[in-house]
């Protein structure tokens, strides 16, 4: 910041009477800078000396004008920070939505106006949002070892001791040996925890205050549990049917259309509860109206591996033959089927931007996929294989291998990783893991109960209170519920690209246009034939008009010619390049093939 301002100061033609008061940004400047500044000044004065003699008045005027342009104050001082504050490119990029419109020149006048206006508006919005980033109150957590110390060797007790009491209290164990192993689910706000023991124990806890909301035994096998849109209701997949309870443990519904459910996912913006059953059915329940939206027979046997893509609400199912299939409620066939593992898929999870999928299989491999391109990025070999996977909001991956939970960082970032970021051993074999939203906490459900583990840097530090607010009051929750229900996204809108609605539907337009042209007998959008307007006296002679027409005609022609010439040039270039390559290959001898 300081350097350009200094330069600008040096370049001004105004003679300063007084030195400006010293500013903090000038203190950092070293001697070298001063020297160069002086040089610049000297040069300026040399160059200007003869001019000043010749036209002093002119100079005065110029000075005045310049002062106005530079936005200087009347006192002659200059704004040290001219213009608006710069925004780092990285931040701007974070808030970029889509690309800028490219073919502006070919658009019609009215459309062009609209496009430029909307683009200016979105650029402004992007800038303002990027600016606002500076004001976010919280910063993400971190864990750094000393030199030679691995962070994965740091024990939870040490961390709990090193941090403040409230954070330290987030590491705790619940010894529930009787009804385990446990599955768990955190509510979207991260305040409430739901535990479901395989042998029927269900409890919900406000885990930070350790306040027990309800506890019961359903006297049946519990396969899976899930919070619905608020912490007032949760779904429990029991031995036979799907049940819905309220936060006091009162049974609200028993849904007999959903039988033998093994895994569940809740799509919060669609108010859909997706269930995968032992009979191979993927079913969607609209919890706002209580109707079954879709029931899809996947024809691939028992479905016990399931994850949702939070970016586009697509359900990912893992199968015993090593494939992962992607489903939407609108289609009876999978959208995508990809072979991920040699053995059965044990667990999978998708990150919140919908870009990466992490899977683990019986072949003891852990694979990271880019699901935009459906291609693997990294493969890792875990000696014990991972039974449960979970991704945090900040992209930390937790993998449970036997009774050890490992947390990895930068799974898809740079190169392959060699050792975990953190590790923790629990008493029994792990049955379910889940990161708590907006907290640096990983919940682990295992055979001997539940462990809450501190993972610094896991949670998103700044929440958006209009979306999910961990500190909301009852009234706020009610308001939010109404708003959320009003803008419930219809299940028909689930697809691979959630932004599809905002894009131009070129195909339909072309089809419609074709029909219109057929009906009308002419093309209403075609360029009108140039009709020369009556201009001036003497300019409308037949010859002159013909000339003007020709000009326009040639204009069109020129465009065509320009295009064809460009194409030809490109083809020529390609041809040359390929010829060059061929020539290079031709130089190779027959023996070259043995070189390696």
């Amino acid at each position: 910041m300081a350097a350009p301002v200094q330069e600008a100061l040096a370049n001004t033609h105004v003679e300063k009477k007084k030195k400006p008061p010293k500013r903090y940004w000038e203190e950092t400047k070293n001697e070298d800078d001063k020297n160069t500044d002086k040089d610049v000044k000297d040069k300026n004065s040399e160059g200007e000396a003869p001019q000043e003699v010749s036209d002093k008045k002119d100079d005065e005027r110029r000075k005045k004008r310049k002062r106005r342009i530079d936005g200087k104050f009347i006192s002659g001082k200059k704004d040290p920070f001219p213009g608006e504050a710069p925004i780092p490119q990285e931040q701007l990029k974070k808030f970029q939505r889509g690309k800028k419109f490219q073919k502006l020149n070919r658009a019609r006048k009215k459309a062009k106006e609209i496009i430029t206006q909307s683009e200016a508006a979105s650029a402004l919005a992007q800038k303002e949002a990027a600016r606002y980033d500076l004001l976010l109150p919280e910063e993400a957590g971190f864990l750094e070892g000393e030199e030679g110390e691995d962070t994965c060797t740091v024990s939870q007790e040490d961390i709990a001791e090193a941090v403040d009491i409230t954070s330290g209290a987030k590491y705790f164990n619940l010894h529930l040996t009787q009804f385990g192993p446990y599955r768990l689910d955190y509510s979207r706000t991260g305040r409430h925890l739901l535990l479901g023991g395989r042998r029927g124990h269900v409890s919900c806890i406000e885990w930070q205050t350790k306040n027990l909301m309800c506890e019961m035994n359903v006297m049946e096998t519990v396969q899976d549990i899930k919070w619905l849109h608020t912490e007032a209701m949760f779904a429990v997949a029991q031995k036979k049917w799907l049940y819905i309870y309220d936060s006091k443990g009162i049974e609200l519904h028993c849904i007999k259309k959903f039988n033998d459910v093994l895994r569940m996912q809740f799509l919060p913006y669609h108010f859909l509860l997706a269930t995968a059953s032992a009979t191979g059915f993927l079913q969607y329940l609209d919890v706002s109206v209580g109707k079954e939206v879709a029931a899809i027979c996947t024809k691939s046997g028992r479905l016990d591996v399931m994850a949702q893509n939070p970016y586009n609400a697509i359900i990912h199912l893992g199968h015993p033959n090593g494939t992962v299939s992607l489903w939407s409620p609108n289609q009876k066939e999978p959208l995508v089927k990809m072979l991920c593992h040699r053995g059965a898929v044990r667990s999978l999870t998708v990150d919140k931007t919908g870009t990466y999928m992490v899977t683990s299989g019986l072949d003891r491999k852990l694979k990271v996929y880019d699901i935009r391109a459906f291609k693997p990025l990294h493969k890792y070999f875990l000696p014990a294989g991972a039974s449960c996977l979970s991704l945090s909001q900040k992209g930390l991956l937790s993998a449970a291998t036997g009774d050890v939970v490992q947390v990895y960082r930068d799974v898809w970032g740079g190169g392959p990783i060699s050792k975990p970021y953190m590790a923790h051993r629990v008493r029994g074999s792990v049955w379910g893991v889940g990161f708590c939203p907006f907290e640096d906490v990983l919940g682990i459900g295992h055979g001997e109960g539940f462990t809450s583990m501190i993972v610094p840097g896991a949670g998103e530090p700044n929440f958006d209170a209009l979306d999910v607010n961990p500190y909301r009051s009852l009234k706020q929750r009610q308001e939010w519920e109404v708003k959320a229900l009003l803008e419930k996204v219809q299940p028909e809108l689930i697809g691979l690209d959630p932004g599809l609605l905002g894009k131009v539907d070129q195909a339909t337009f072309e089809q419609k246009h074709k029909e219109r042209v057929e009906a009308l007998g002419y093309d209403p959008l075609a360029n009108e034939k140039f009709k020369p307007r009556f201009k001036k006296r003497g300019k409308s002679a037949a010859g002159a008009v013909e000339k003007r027409k020709k000009k326009v005609a040639h204009e069109d022609q020129r465009d065509v010619i320009r295009k064809t010439v460009e194409e030809r040039m490109e083809r020529e270039k390609e041809r040359k390049e390929s010829a060059k390559q061929q020539a290079e290959q031709g130089r190779k001898t027959a023996l070259d093939r043995f070189k390696k």
Binding site: F95, G141, P310, P456, D464, Y471, E487, L501, G502
Partner: protein, 445 residues
């Protein structure tokens, strides 16, 4: 070991006292807001539905006339004052905010054909079937004093319309000729005629104030310059235009209400084809008036409806009708851009909202913000079929609906026939005539 764990102080996120407003910290990170487009679309759909639910455009009806309302004029200075003239020669002055008649004047014998207020707002002019032009004071006379015109001019023929100059003491009337009058003189200072026997409307241009336009009964629209002795130019159309109105913001454009159920917006500089043809009425259009912003205009028709058109659009965005409203003869857009006044055959003046679903009264800033946001959403998703279907749907009276369908069929048949003729004749011998060109017969300079 260096460690930091996320730990929020609840005091930073919860309001201090219960009287405080709730704290709402924001984070605009797009990854925290998935499904942006589908959610916005849902909001837009909801906004469009609410818009239709709240569309209750009828505000009030002013009754008191004892015959059909033939003309309405806005007061130049006062928003709440409106003048109206009826077919029995009565002129009434209304207060809109109190919805009551302030004054009643028996101005003419027979129809009151035209009414306009002076630019200063202290007096107004009326013309009637009794061949007189009368100037009246805006102030009511004292108690027990008879209503007397300030001045009366006795003409030779019936006057059918009147309009006052924007800033000078001259006015124009039309009848057998278009006459320009000085307020001080009892005979016209200039008379224009171009081979026609009667005019139905004359209007001053609001910006180029010496310019006038008139609709003549020989199907032409004639432009005049007050400073010249001869008219400027005219365009002859296929059917007669009843009235016209200048666009107050782009004053080179004017819109005329035609007998062929359409309205035409012309550019004064190029009369050979209208800029836009506005279709939707199913009977002759009788009156037209622009909104003060110049972006929309309202038209009154013999088919008992009032329609609002955006100035660029070929079709109306809104149609107003009631069971009791008969042929609408005159219509005006109020100067605050919020209301529309329509005068109809069955003796009532109706007040409508210009924007059917607008909430009246004082709005809080949050309400305003929500309205703006919804407006923008509706605009953004207006072309989506679901949104469009809901936004476009209007209930029409049965006979208008039928007539509309009939007209559409007729038009379709005509088009089909033309296409067939073209198909079976020599290429180029049956030229394509666009809808715009179809209705103009000739332009005479």
């Amino acid at each position: 070991m260096k460690v930091k764990v996320l730990c929020r102080n609840p005091d930073d996120y919860v309001r201090e006292t219960s009287r405080d407003i709730q704290r709402v910290p924001r984070n605009y990170d797009p990854t925290l807001h998935p499904f942006e487009v589908p959610r916005e679309y849902t909001r837009a759909l909801n906004a469009t539905k609410l818009d239709r639910i709240f569309a209750k455009p009828f505000v009030a009806s002013l009754d008191g006339h004892r015959d059909g309302v033939n003309c309405i004029a806005k007061h130049v200075k006062s928003l709440s004052t409106v003048l109206s003239g009826a077919c029995d020669g009565q002129v009434k002055i209304w207060n809109l905010s109190r919805r009551e008649c302030l004054r009643t004047i028996q101005a003419h014998e027979g129809f009151v054909r035209g009414i306009c207020s002076r630019f200063c707002g202290t007096s107004f002019f009326t013309v009637g079937d009794d061949k007189t032009i009368k100037q009246w004071s805006m102030e009511a006379p004292g108690c027990g004093v008879r209503e007397e015109p300030l001045t009366t001019i006795l003409g030779k023929a019936v006057y059918t319309g009147i309009d006052h100059h924007q800033s000078e003491g001259t006015f124009a009337t039309c009848g057998q000729t278009v006459d320009i009058w000085d307020e001080q003189k009892s005979s016209p200072i200039r008379s224009f005629s171009w081979g026609v026997d009667s005019f139905s409307c004359v209007r001053y241009n609001p910006v180029e104030t010496e310019l006038l336009a008139s609709c003549a009964s020989d199907r032409s629209i004639i432009l005049y310059d007050m400073r010249e002795s001869t008219p400027l130019k005219k365009v002859v159309m296929q059917l007669r235009s009843n009235t016209l109105c200048w666009n107050p913001m782009e004053a080179y454009n004017f819109t005329c209400a035609n007998e062929d159920y359409n309205l035409y917006t012309y550019d004064m500089r190029r009369l050979d084809a209208p800029v836009t043809v506005h279709m939707d009425h199913v009977s002759a259009v009788l009156d037209v008036d622009y909104s003060p912003t110049g972006r929309e205009f309202v038209s009154a028709s013999f088919d008992k409806t009032v329609r609002i058109f955006p100035k660029h659009s070929g079709h109306s965005r809104e149609v107003y009708h009631t069971k009791r409203m008969q042929h609408v003869i005159c219509v005006r857009w109020s100067a605050d851009n919020k209301y529309i006044l329509s005068g109809s055959d069955e003796m009532n003046i109706r007040i409508w909202k210009a924007n059917a679903s607008e909430k009246l009264g004082v709005l809080t800033s949050r309400e305003k913000a929500a309205i703006h946001y919804n407006q923008k959403l509706k605009e953004k998703f207006q072309h989506h079929p679901q949104v469009k279907r809901i936004a476009r749907h209007r209930h029409l009276p049965r006979d208008i609906f039928k007539q509309k369908r009939e007209l559409r069929e007729m038009k379709e048949a005509r088009r089909r026939k033309e296409q067939n003729v073209r198909k079976h004749s020599k290429p180029g011998s049956v030229p394509l005539v666009t809808e715009k060109e179809k209705h103009v017969v000739t332009v005479v300079e």
